[in-house]
Symmetry: C2
Subunit: 354 residues, 2 copies
């Protein structure tokens, strides 16, 4: 059985789940075009998750992917939190805020049986996990729905670990990828493997299919990833300008500017390394800082700064997630982009020639 | 004119110059197989350079590439040198050496008119430059020989800079590449672009042909690089086990062990970031250290430690240069490897299927 048969999709294109910049609308558009759309649930409260799943199911009867996180919940650490607030205090003061004040950041919950209770009635054809896998009983529950399970690996060790625990395919997340890096066995970034090195090594090491992620931005990138042995690709950044994405105006502008050529891993926005366009906060405090609290606690103290800066038209404190290759970003419907990625443009021309 | 026509080669495969682990023998074997072999000259004293060029010319009448460095010579800095020696002192003491003692490390000279005097009689069909370009008059002198000029870029900015100064093709050196990173406009590693992101961006930004380097290890990798728009590839790591390479026994063993999956940029061995297999010195002092003197001065104080450790059969202080993808390393003649990379195995089978 090929990966496409396993997932029930026509095209070897998976849309990367991107919490915070998309909802069911993007996922449904990709599914309807023949790719595998994804609904990121890590930021959703229970009622919102149910509403999004309902909306997605109403918009498509094709297979879709429900994505959740599997991080270990952080230990509270008052001293570290205080140090973080002290580092941010000058920005609070500059905005006229009380440095002791804190808005609750959007919570990022790991996958639980309670979340599974919400998801179960929708019987998602595919679920993907980031930052490892849930406990064995929870994973067995998901598999028991007939759901195909995908998870991200950033190294050969992680790929083998996932395969040994029964995933149906592994997403090879290369150094180029935007957003949160999904590592879970080693948190060092020194050895971050580029897509060109990671994909062939996972293809060689694993029996399950490998999905290439990181730097894949157009039909040529898809062709290259398949040449390296991948069975499909997962594309995120290229979808960020689609009308169906909820990407904010500042983020859209940054993706289209010269600054989009300069991204870096940063832990300032959530506590875990994620790749985004370098902005003021990253330049001044990082991009990586030992002061940032454990994931996802760093987000809470950033939230007021982000909200106020965005109100003033500045992305200085916004996570401008992007991969290293924004050349595929286009303000076109996601369905059309999906077919272009697969080398099947709707209008009979190879869009990457334009 | 295609890049292959410009360089006068049959195959879209350039052998990466690898100072310290190869001489004319590897270069000649690659040239004779239809690729572009390279002679790294940065570590060679004048007489050795002349001898190597003579030997290469005697072994092949096909085009070859002569590679030199273009770094700015370092300013002497006694305080920094003392700090570096202090950091290394415990290792000196453990070996019974006087920490004040220093062997002269192999010198790495930037390209000069004096070096051009030696090279000129050989009229190299191709020269490649690392760490930027020589001054305009020196570059014009090389072009005046009818020599085609290549240089490495790690970013779009560097690619444009090189194109504006008249290079004939740009080597896109991605994050995955082994050995010295060729950056020259920005020394930050935060934004190091993976091959999958760098190649398409340079192809889009430049008019001159782009050569993909970093992670390319077999015929599938070559196919993928060409799919991304590259006109050819430059491969280094895969050649390190060839009998024609002068790679030492410890280095060869490391390339074939599990540790080869873990590489990092390190400045400990020369003062500039270069990718190698993580070993004891990198784990204990780095891999990147602010104490390391400017390139190439760090090398001198490491040399006695390296020599003694290697005598004892340990690679603890050796630069074990390697890219992130060693899956293509094979102990086969370089000619056969070259043809396999180009998808033309000598013996009628696709070696990458094995």
């Amino acid at each position: 059985m090929t990966l496409r048969e396993m997932l029930g999709v026509e095209l070897p294109v998976l849309q990367a789940p991107m919490a915070g910049v998309q909802d069911h609308a993007l996922a449904a558009a990709v599914c309807e075009a023949g790719g595998l759309g994804a609904l990121p649930c890590a930021l959703l409260a229970p009622e919102a998750m149910r509403a999004e799943l309902t909306a997605l199911r109403a918009r498509t009867d094709r297979p879709f992917n429900v994505n959740v996180f599997c991080h270990a919940p952080p230990e509270p650490d008052a001293a570290r939190d205080a140090a973080w607030r002290a580092a941010l205090a000058p920005y609070y003061v500059a905005f006229g805020f009380d440095p002791a004040w804190g808005a609750a950041g959007a919570g990022r919950q790991p996958f639980t049986h309670a979340m599974a209770d919400i998801i179960e009635p929708f019987r998602p054809p595919v679920m993907s996990f980031h930052f490892g896998l849930p406990d064995a009983d929870l994973l067995a529950r998901v598999h028991g729905w007939g759901t195909r399970v995908l998870a991200s690996a950033t190294s050969v060790e992680e790929g083998r670990w996932l395969e040994a625990r029964g995933v149906d395919a592994v997403i090879a997340q290369g150094h180029e990828a935007g957003g949160h890096r999904g590592h879970f066995l080693s948190d060092t970034l020194d050895g971050a493997l580029g897509t060109f090195a990671l994909v062939p090594q996972l293809v060689r090491a694993l029996r399950v299919p490998v999905i290439a992620a990181g730097g894949v931005a157009d039909a040529r990138g898809v062709e290259a990833a398949l040449a390296l042995g991948a069975s499909a690709v997962q594309v995120g950044t290229a979808y960020l300008l689609c009308p169906e994405a909820t990407t904010g105006a500042l983020h859209r502008a940054a993706l289209q500017g010269e600054e989009a050529r300069h991204t870096a891993y940063t832990n300032l926005f959530t506590g875990r390394p994620a790749r985004g366009i370098v902005n003021r906060l990253m330049r001044e405090l990082g991009p990586m800082s030992p002061l940032a609290p454990a994931f996802p606690l760093a987000a809470a103290a950033i939230a007021p700064l982000r909200i106020e800066a965005e109100r003033r038209g500045r992305g200085d404190f916004s996570p401008l997630w992007a991969g290293q290759n924004v050349t595929g970003c286009k303000s076109i419907p996601a369905a059309r982009l999906t077919r272009e990625l697969a080398g099947k443009p709707s209008q009979g021309r190879r869009a990457w020639r334009c």
